[in-house]
């Protein structure tokens, strides 16, 4: 029967586990999961489009591609721009980072504005059959993500003015940038689905 034993020889080093610093892992896992919602919507869109006896609402044969195309170009290029912002941050060029980062935000905002203009010019609504619902659901849900991305970028921009903000690494900026790429990729798929496949 053992209770206390001071003479035990130990040969282990005390093990240690990091408490934090897991944000990026968690965020990537979350994004994978989030993409399934879009995937579900995309599948829903395709199934309904293929099988619906009526698809476009009355008086409409398709939707205009020009304006969304400009939007697409802006959003996709913003994904490259944000990459340079990150690069500046790595090089500790804070102002360079802030300016390019802000340009990304502007491009994102332009996208939202373009989306708004497109919506306000459309002649069908959320209630216009399966297509109407799907169109607004997909673009709206994606638009929400864009807005979230812009807000997060704003937050990162403000925090960049805090002293010592990057002491613990650049995880925040990296995550937001990852999110932005994600939003971008989703848009490309969405654009293909709604606008190109008519």
């Amino acid at each position: 029967m053992l209770t206390e034993n001071q003479n035990l020889t130990l040969n282990h080093k005390p093990g240690h586990i990091k408490h934090d610093g897991h944000n990026m892992t968690g965020f990537i896992i979350f994004l994978c999961s989030e993409s399934i919602i879009f995937f579900a919507f995309f599948v829903g869109y395709s199934v309904l489009k293929i099988s619906s006896p009526v698809w476009y609402p009355e008086g409409i044969n398709g939707i205009d591609v020009k304006m969304p195309l400009i939007n697409t170009v802006i959003l996709v290029s913003s994904s490259f721009v944000i990459y340079f912002a990150e690069k500046y941050l790595h090089k500790k060029n804070l102002w360079g980072f802030r300016i390019i980062w802000f340009i990304t935000m502007l491009m994102g905002s332009y996208f939202v504005y373009g989306q708004y203009v497109e919506w306000s010019e459309l002649s069908f609504s959320l209630q216009s059959g399966a297509f109407g619902g799907m169109f607004y659901l997909l673009t709206g849900f994606h638009g929400l993500h864009v807005i979230t991305g812009i807000l997060l970028m704003g937050l990162m921009l403000l925090r960049s003015f805090l002293p010592d903000n990057y002491k613990g690494g650049e995880m925040g900026v990296e995550s937001v940038s990852l999110f932005w790429h994600f939003v971008d990729v989703i848009w490309i798929l969405l654009f293909g689905l709604i606008y190109l496949w008519q």
């Binding site: 099988s51 619906s52 006896p53 009526v54």
Partner: protein, 311 residues
């Protein structure tokens, strides 16, 4: 420790003996269960029934064998491998056995391959389901040509919240489904509101009826009698009342029924849900919300709600 038991198990002869007895008993009982399983099912009244029942009996036999094999082993362990009260020592430290593990991966694999091949072949024999055509909901229900051969039909099966109506090729409406025995009858399954399911336990057949689609369906009744047709997909407040009868008759009587029914005036058909709803209204409309039941169907043959049924 239970050395006595251990010794018995160690002796090769008695071990094989016990196992063979157990296996023989298990096989016997499993076969019996397979045989009894036919009596757990309703009367076989369609050509599908005996396929389904054979398949079910087959699975019952195999299932019983596996279940008894596993639980018998567990029972054996519980009887012979119990630790005495203050014994806290360890058992035999077996970590695994690759050969065994491969066997019990492969055998179930082969087994399910076998079962699914068997049931796929049954599926191809039955082929009750014809086509499912979506149509624009606002417009007329389209006429769907059935590609498969059938002897009688198509009969329109109209399901509603909560009553059934059957419209025959010659235009008569009925609250009960009359069918000629041994003839392949064809249906167009239609719903006017939510999803319902056309389920006749004695036929072993069930098919959901989907709003916005016409589904063609064929089946061959093989036994005369009265069988229940039950809605099997939850369809709201009076779902459990959404039942009627299938009356399978000899060809002669069936055609006689057709001829006589044509002459009948349209009248109110079966609508037990409607009656219950009227009662609810009379009692002060208590309860939670429900859509109003569809009005009584207008039919030539009103049917008999309390007709005794065979299954």
């Amino acid at each position: 420790m239970n050395t006595k038991i251990r010794r018995i198990k160690k002796s090769g002869f008695s071990k094989t003996f016990i196992i063979s007895i157990a296996v023989i008993l298990n096989i016997t009982f499993s076969l019996l269960m397979g045989y009894w399983s036919y009596s757990w099912l309703p009367i076989q009244a369609s050509e599908a029934a005996h396929y389904v029942d054979n398949l079910f009996a087959f699975e019952t036999t195999i299932g019983t064998f596996i279940f008894l094999g596993c639980s018998g082993t567990m029972a054996w362990i519980l009887v012979f491998n119990r630790a005495p009260k203050y014994d806290e020592s360890n058992g035999e430290p077996l970590e695994g056995n690759l050969k065994l593990e491969i066997i019990w991966t492969l055998v179930p694999l082969l087994l399910v391959l076998g079962i699914s091949t068997y049931s796929t072949s049954v599926n191809y024999k039955l082929e009750n389901l014809g086509s499912k055509i979506k149509y624009d909901y606002g417009s007329e229900v389209p006429f769907v040509e059935e590609k498969k051969v059938f002897d009688y039909g198509p009969i329109d099966v109209i399901s509603r919240q909560w009553n059934w109506e059957f419209i025959y090729p010659n235009g008569i409406h009925s609250s009960e489904l009359h069918l000629p025995v041994d003839k392949k009858s064809n249906f167009r399954l239609i719903t006017e509101d939510v999803i319902h399911s056309f389920y006749v336990p004695a036929f072993r057949l069930k098919q959901d009826i989907i709003p916005g689609s016409v589904i063609t369906y064929s089946l061959t009744p093989t036994k005369e009698g009265v069988f229940r047709l039950r809605d099997a997909m939850f369809s709201g407040a009076y779902f459990s009342e959404n039942q009627t009868n299938v009356i399978v008759e000899s060809e002669e009587i069936f055609y006689k029924w057709i001829k006589e029914t044509v002459k009948k005036e349209l009248q109110n058909g079966l609508n037990p849900a409607g009656n219950l709803y009227q009662k609810r209204l009379r009692n002060g409309n208590r309860g939670w919300a429900t859509v109003k039941p569809a009005p009584d169907p207008k039919v030539n043959d009103a049917g008999i709600e309390s007709r005794p049924h065979d299954s």
